[in-house]
Symmetry: D2
Subunit: 349 residues, 4 copies
């Protein structure tokens, strides 16, 4: 793997949108959200990993958070979807990994949750797993990350700055024929006089005609069109699951603006959850009637725009932070190299 | 039209389910709900009408109610569906009428709403209209009810007992080859120690092998399989739109128990709304954040069962209250007669 | 209304995407598709109209076409949605008009279809109507277009070049705070060696930060964010309704690239249909089993990209062809003027 | 486990519906469909298993079958849902197992499929797994079936008669407070003069007020209301994925007729696929355009009724064939016994 000096988009003097970012310009600007990676790089063939996102630091199964899933193109293996839709909540951390690792990721989330204090008698839980296909750099058929490695991503989760690029679930992903990976961004918006944070984290692995902040990126030749993306949205705004679904859908606005081909082979998913204490579905509140403060339909539009902006920027960050990667193409059984996007080319625009 | 003495199912000594009914055993047991009919019977060919359901006595556009729509088989022309899904609310009364009258019903709801005090500058509203096809008894192509007649149904809406059978939107409908129509029923259930009312009103116009409270009704020969049903659920339980959707879906449990064939030609729709003051989306609450008390997922199941029971009973009431009707079959251009279900046969079971 | 000389985007030397356009760069490049407008401009207050799209020149009720609807944000009154989803087809022409005209448009489609030769005994039909809200220029509460005017749009439908801008259903619409309207564009793409046409027609009435072919349009000050868009996609590619839905969804890719805010108040709908003779659901084919040639999932991606490109260009055409319009704001009860986009500013970029 | 003599519903002289059954009255009446079980009964605590359903005897990944999923209540962990919806097909066998075994079942399907001849370069596949919660008899937290045990179910799949009751994925399930399990039934219906087979297999684990062929089953006291059901529909009728979805939805008609409470905690899923050679999506057909013969909307209703009947009967078969089971309640950490339904009580009705 190359040792070039990678930076985030804003360090190149390029910005997206007009809302302010949070302090870290990361999903972790939403208080309590933690992110963990496990990166599996071994020999010539293993270039994969997993990334965990925890909505809060407590027991998520006991204190569930309202959530929603939006599927733009469902050629993917996202786990947990139907229960999220039915109940409007998630009750576990989220794991991102590769396409053939979903079963092992579910197993890791189950083990993690069953082992938590207070969950000794839990017999049902809905593990949430997103994936994209890293087989252009990784021997995806070989069973990595293992269940134990998946667990390491969960264990590694922490608040604060998020490692981006060819790391965790982004270790082997490819975007626009260039190296993709994990990227994040955030916005702070005022709704009815109150500031709220919105953060997005993406695992980019798709294609099209790359457009960076409105300008085509023309430096490379053949651009790849296939692949997928998973986008996770966190917000501290008090929202019901119906409006969280609408938030999640706005990720596709950011996706489209990067020049995505939105092709048949894409698995394009966005999950949104609220971390607001007041809408958390605690054991106590779930006993009968509870009052949840929620933002009205009439005032959510600024949050929608924030999601569009943060999604677009998170995607580009996943590329500017990713490094050229040598690995193995499991579809063709050949060595492969995927170049990082040229920061020089971006600066020259 | 025959002058036989029609009664509701319970008057025949037959009951459905195990929960108590409300005082009227009608959708109007949910406080504030009003129902109005216009019945159009003229000459040999006009056997149609419209039925209005008002969620509360105020200005529904200003004080919207949370609502949801469930579509079991979408071969129908239900108006207003996508906005109900997106915003989780209704902002107008509901009109039921015949298949080719939906446009005129929208027009009537628009006129009604635009004319209300406080709505002088309203420029967008989502009229909600359900329909089934009464062309086996009615010259449906002839443009009745007119817009003015639709308006009469809205104007006639009142709380209290609901007229059932071959009336309003049920004037020309057919169920199981027998006369269908408007029927209603209600249940009172206790959730976490608090009693809530659930009421259902149906426009029955479908078929299959009729089963009344578990027993096949074998009195008639050829049973018709086609047609549709629209079911409206009202409750005073404080529910979010997501759980109202689940309530609406349970109508199909009641429908199935009557022996419905659930055929290709069915337009099977259920709309549910909550009348609870505390979840009403008033002008004031829609300005920013508002706290809404809602029942938790964990405790809603008794309401689900209440809907199954009330739906089944409302359907049978629509038949036992309906009278044999002579009219015109617009599909065959011939006179037609649809017999009422035999109360004697039901009593003898 | 101003008499400035308006042109389409390509006449300004600006193009979108990389696929070729059809001969007319219009939805009517898809053989058989016809478009008709009625434009209602009267006095100071009436600035509205309707636009009809006919999928083929025959009896659409008898020879239905496979179709699908995609809803991005459902704050709208689109009529016919649930039956399109259930049956995967449309059986009437499509009318676009204003928000409060949907009922009258349904009535006009019903009259049109019932009156066609061969439909003498038709008793059920699913009128398809899209709308956006032209109340910023039009006295939308005043009941125009009338049912008869709606019928005129249907009667006016013809193949060949399509009139764009402030015409038909676009007479009073507003996009990005500038004059929107009707726009169209098309692409020709080769799939497995066979060329197919894809055409898009839009009624633009939404907002955000306008981006034209990747560049922000900065000429005006306060940009409006609210509003809606309806997009109609026609193709001669043989597609099943499932893949037509995916085609329809790609319209939102084009929409996002124009800088759409995708706000709460948007009613963003896309309808797609195939005109291919071989997938038409004729009376004969509907009798039992029929063989339909359809493109495989694996090869549809070029059509998806074509839709993204044509949608984006159709939107911009709706603006470059629209003229500055003086009218009446029904929400504020005041005169209003909406300026056309400056072609000079676009040329100078 | 008891050794009582268990029989299918028809052996008790009770039948459901009016269509003929297939030769075996099983899902395997649909030619080519194979079913395999692994049953894990060990010590006092392990009462679980898995059941595999293979749509045909070839390489399902290469020769995919059109399929659709219907979700009535999505409180479940069904895997593979979004890709089934998007592409209208399945490309792997289906595994049913317990709630916490979904990850291991995915892993087993992946291993199975990757190892098949012709799949050496496959890097993406969509494993389909259904589940219900057998924790009232099984130590569900203990990780059984293992991945290897899941694989045994796949390896055991065979055509011919299907073992029912407390076997495979039904080993530890509970229905109406009585022992549930695996059940199956089939129907043969004529559509436009051609006979088609429809088979249903269920994993029953839900509750309500049990109704057997229209009559309440009153023999037991406290009836349990919670739980889930997964229903698999196979047919040799040539259907597109859209009509397969409608077929799947009709399972809920059969479910409702058994007295299901349709409670909050249910995970109620139905998957339908067509085994017709002519609609199979072979490698060859997926290259470009292929012609698929499909039944028209207008003629599918008899298949809908067949599904209602076969679903109801499959559920009751799952109970009449199940044996009283002693095990372990993982939610309460106590031994538990679930009685089989009394065949004597059924005969006496």
């Amino acid at each position: 793997m190359s040792s070039e000096n990678r930076v985030r988009l804003r360090a190149l003097g390029i910005s997206v949108g007009h809302y302010d970012t949070g302090a870290l310009n990361a999903i972790t600007d939403v208080a309590g959200v933690a992110v963990g990676h496990v990166t599996c790089v071994e020999g010539e063939r293993t270039r994969t990993g997993a990334t965990a996102i925890l909505p809060h630091g407590g027991n998520v199964f006991q204190d569930k958070v309202p959530a929603a899933l939006a599927v733009f193109n469902g050629f993917g293996k996202f786990a947990g979807s139907t229960q999220i839709v039915e109940l409007g909540e998630i009750e576990t951390p989220v794991l991102l990994t590769n396409t053939l690792g979903v079963g092992r990721a579910i197993e890791a989330i189950n083990r993690h949750t069953l082992a938590q204090t207070g969950n000794e008698r839990v017999v049902s839980l809905n593990a949430v797993v997103g994936e994209t296909n890293d087989s252009r750099l990784n021997d995806i058929r070989a069973g990595r990350p293992t269940v134990d490695e998946m667990s390491q991503a969960l264990a590694a989760a922490k608040t604060g700055a998020v490692e981006e690029g060819a790391v965790g679930a982004g270790t082997g992903t490819v975007a626009f024929g260039l190296k993709g990976g994990i990227g994040t961004s955030s916005r702070v918006v005022s709704v009815a006089g109150v500031p709220y944070s919105v953060g997005v984290l993406v695992q980019s692995n798709y294609g099209g005609k790359l457009t960076v902040a409105g300008k085509p990126y023309e430096a490379e030749g053949a651009h790849d069109k296939d692949g997928s993306i998973v986008m996770i949205v966190a917000t501290d705004a008090p929202l019901c699951s119906r409006n969280l679904k609408r938030l999640a859908e706005r990720c596709f606005g950011g996706l489209a603006r990067t020049g995505a081909a939105l092709s048949n082979g894409s698995g394009d998913y966005a999950l949104a959850f609220s971390t607001a204490e007041d809408v958390r579905r605690t054991t106590e509140r779930r006993k009968a009637v509870a009052a949840y403060p929620v933002l009205s339909n009439d005032v959510v539009s600024p949050l929608f725009e924030a999601v569009i902006e943060a999604s677009e920027e998170a995607i580009i960050n996943s590329m500017t932070m990713a490094t050229t990667t040598h690995g193995y193409n499991a579809g063709t059984d050949k060595p492969s190299t995927i170049n990082a996007i040229s920061l020089d080319a971006l600066k020259r625009r």
